[in-house]
């Protein structure tokens, strides 16, 4: 056997390294005890741009210093990847929509809390038909969209509203990064997407917006989500995030020079300018005042929306194969728990927004 001793030693060393790496992944998610350093991931979207400003302007650092912690802000290019990384434990907080919060971290068993309910889409997501101007004409068409995303949900709700179902169309999964190019192709006739791609496609003559998220107000919600265990062990993290967020909201809301300067900076960071960013804000219902966000979070409508989202997600297998019904995952809201109260994995917690509203931060 001595013959093979050297090669297998080398193999063994390589494998030890691989094992160590895998175990590294395995233990990453355990670190939920009290700690000092936190990481927030964000991706470009009109309602999440304030996190970029929070980092750039030093406002977040100011709040983190106040609570004696450090917060690292990381911009990711890929939205789904950022949520996957959050689910895997690489980030303590991440921006995402209500539907993705349910289907990725919560369905993956990671107890998540919507710390900040930032806005809801009020026309930012829409359905476009080429050459036709009524939603009913979508029947029988191929529809390009990011499958299993909020676009898919919007399509399902739109079809619902005209008594049709997904069986009446053929869905083609199309990357959001390429959907503008896809729209230019001659054989593309129907699309569902969000801004800024939506307004970009609508600039082409012959395209019509036949349905948009302002017809289902409050159902596509943009959140800043935090790992529940981390938040429980470190309320300072939640306080620093909420404090910084609402300081920027107060600045952004005003139509004075300071407010315009902030919005221009946010627009520039998302590849447009003040006018372009203001146009996107017009179709976004921002909750500038924390009290508004608290009212929305406590409303019975939120619970009703989450029920619809859970049903859509279950029908598309997004809650996992182990899920026997849409009620499998519990969603805790102030107006009551949706689904299984013994398996709560997603929490809408207005506490930190309330503190901001009360000036208690």
């Amino acid at each position: 056997m001595y013959r093979s001793s050297r090669p297998s030693l080398v193999n063994f060393a390589v494998l030890l390294a691989v094992c160590a790496m895998l175990l590294g992944i395995a233990t990453e998610s355990r670190a939920a005890d009290a700690k000092q350093k936190f990481r927030l991931a964000w991706t470009i979207y009109v309602g999440w741009m304030p996190w970029d400003y929070a980092e750039e302007s030093g406002i977040l650092k100011k709040w983190a210093d106040k609570y004696g912690i450090e917060i690292e802000v990381v911009q990711l290019n890929d939205y789904v990847e950022s949520i996957n990384q959050f689910t895997a434990g690489a980030f303590d907080a991440c921006v995402m929509t209500n539907m993705d919060a349910l289907t990725i971290p919560a369905a993956g068993g990671v107890d998540s809390t919507a710390l900040i309910v930032g806005d809801f889409s009020n026309g930012n997501d829409g359905i476009i038909l080429k050459g036709k101007s009524s939603l009913a004409d979508i029947k029988g068409q191929k529809v390009n969209l990011v499958e299993l995303s909020v676009s898919h949900y919007l399509l399902a709700r739109a079809l619902d509203s005209i008594g049709a179902s997904e069986r009446d169309v053929k869905v083609v999964n199309t990357s959001d990064a390429d959907i503008v190019a896809a729209a230019a192709a001659a054989d593309t006739t129907a699309l569902v997407t969000w801004n800024p791609q939506l307004s970009e496609i609508l600039k082409t003559p012959g395209t019509h917006r036949v349905f948009d998220s302002s017809q289902i107000p409050g159902e596509i919600i943009d959140l800043t989500v935090v790992n529940s265990k981390t938040l429980q062990a470190n309320p300072a993290f939640g306080k620093a995030l909420a404090g910084a967020w609402y300081e920027i909201m107060a600045l952004m809301e005003k139509d004075d020079d300071a407010g315009r300067a902030v919005r221009a900076a946010l627009g520039k960071a998302s590849g447009t300018d003040l006018a372009g960013y203001d146009a996107q804000l017009a179709t976004t219902r921002m909750f500038y005042a924390p009290a508004e966000a608290v009212t929305f979070t406590k409303s019975a409508e939120l619970a009703a929306t989450m029920r619809k989202v859970a049903e859509f997600s279950f029908a598309h297998g997004l809650l996992g194969e182990g899920a026997p019904s849409a009620d499998y995952i519990g969603i805790e809201t102030a107006a009551g728990t949706v689904g299984d109260a013994r398996n709560v994995k997603l929490r809408f917690d207005p506490a930190y927004m309330q503190m901001a509203a009360d000036g208690g931060l």
Binding site: S4, A26, V80, T87, G108, N173, A184
Partner: protein, 273 residues
């Protein structure tokens, strides 16, 4: 001499040494997966072996509730059809262009700079153009693969043709062969074995472009499925799909090597490798 460099493992040992890394990787995976699942029973990043079993059962053995098809099979057929068409087209195009470039100096002067230039364009950067010109259907996906691998194959064939000893071509001409006959009877038989190895090497790139095209716009295919279920971190589906793709690619590689070995017995005389 008993130096390490002179020691060759026997057959059994060689096999054991080959399997060992895979076995250790598997053990490491199971251990890591177990550790993660102990912390969070719903963890999706490193699923347990039983989850793989269920996912395989769901995707490979049971017809889908929505379409009535067996999904893994439908995805495989869709992907292999695209890949097969594209690789066959690229091989044919690459062979013709490569022989022209290599054998006819006039054609070479005209084609070489273009083909060299094209081989350096990153095909994925052309995707928006392909979509607008060819639409979002099969044609665009096949074209992406063809653009990606044809120039490489053509250049490889041209290099091979340049290696043909000048004497052989002169000899054929003294025997009365025309340019056409030299290309058909001397150059082509010498270029064909290289075509097979060029295609084998290009297969990796072809798979890459196939998966990329399917990730961007598709209704079926192996790449489509992986990028779709990635939306909810279904590693229990993704990892078996990756293993399946690896198996398919290895089988193709072996099949091409075997075919080349059988078809071109004569090519192994008079040259090494």
């Amino acid at each position: 001499m008993r130096s390490l460099i002179n020691q060759r493992p026997g057959r059994g040992l060689r096999f054991a040494l080959g399997v060992l890394p895979f076995a250790l990787l598997l053990v490491a995976y199971v251990a890591a997966s177990h550790a993660r699942l102990a912390v969070n029973a719903h963890d999706k990043l490193l699923p347990a072996m039983s989850s793989f079993g269920q996912a395989i059962e769901r995707f490979a053995l049971r017809p889908s509730a929505r379409t009535g098809e067996i999904q893994l099979w439908a995805d495989t057929v869709a992907s292999l059809r695209r890949l097969g068409t594209a690789v066959a087209l690229s091989a044919a195009l690459g062979l013709v262009i490569g022989i022209l470039m290599g054998a006819l100096p006039v054609a070479g002067a005209g084609l070489s700079p273009l083909v060299s230039g094209l081989s350096l364009v990153p095909p994925l950067a052309l995707l928006p153009i392909l979509f607008i010109v060819f639409g979002l259907g099969e044609v665009a996906k096949i074209t992406l693969i063809v653009i990606g691998i044809t120039p490489v194959i053509a250049r490889d064939i041209a290099l091979r043709v340049h290696e043909i000893p000048r004497e052989l071509i002169v000899k054929a001409q003294t025997l009365g062969a025309s340019s056409w006959q030299v290309m058909l009877r001397v150059v082509l038989p010498l270029a064909l074995p290289r075509l097979f190895s060029a295609v084998r090497l290009a297969l990796g790139a072809a798979w890459l472009f196939l998966i990329a095209a399917e990730a961007i716009a598709a209704e079926s295919g192996l790449g489509y499925r992986i990028f779709l279920v990635r939306r909810y971190l279904a590693m229990d589906v993704i990892l078996p799909y990756v293993a399946w793709i690896t198996l398919l690619a290895s089988l193709m590689d072996v099949a091409l090597a075997q075919a080349s070995h059988r078809l071109f017995r004569w090519a192994r005389f008079g040259q090494l490798g």
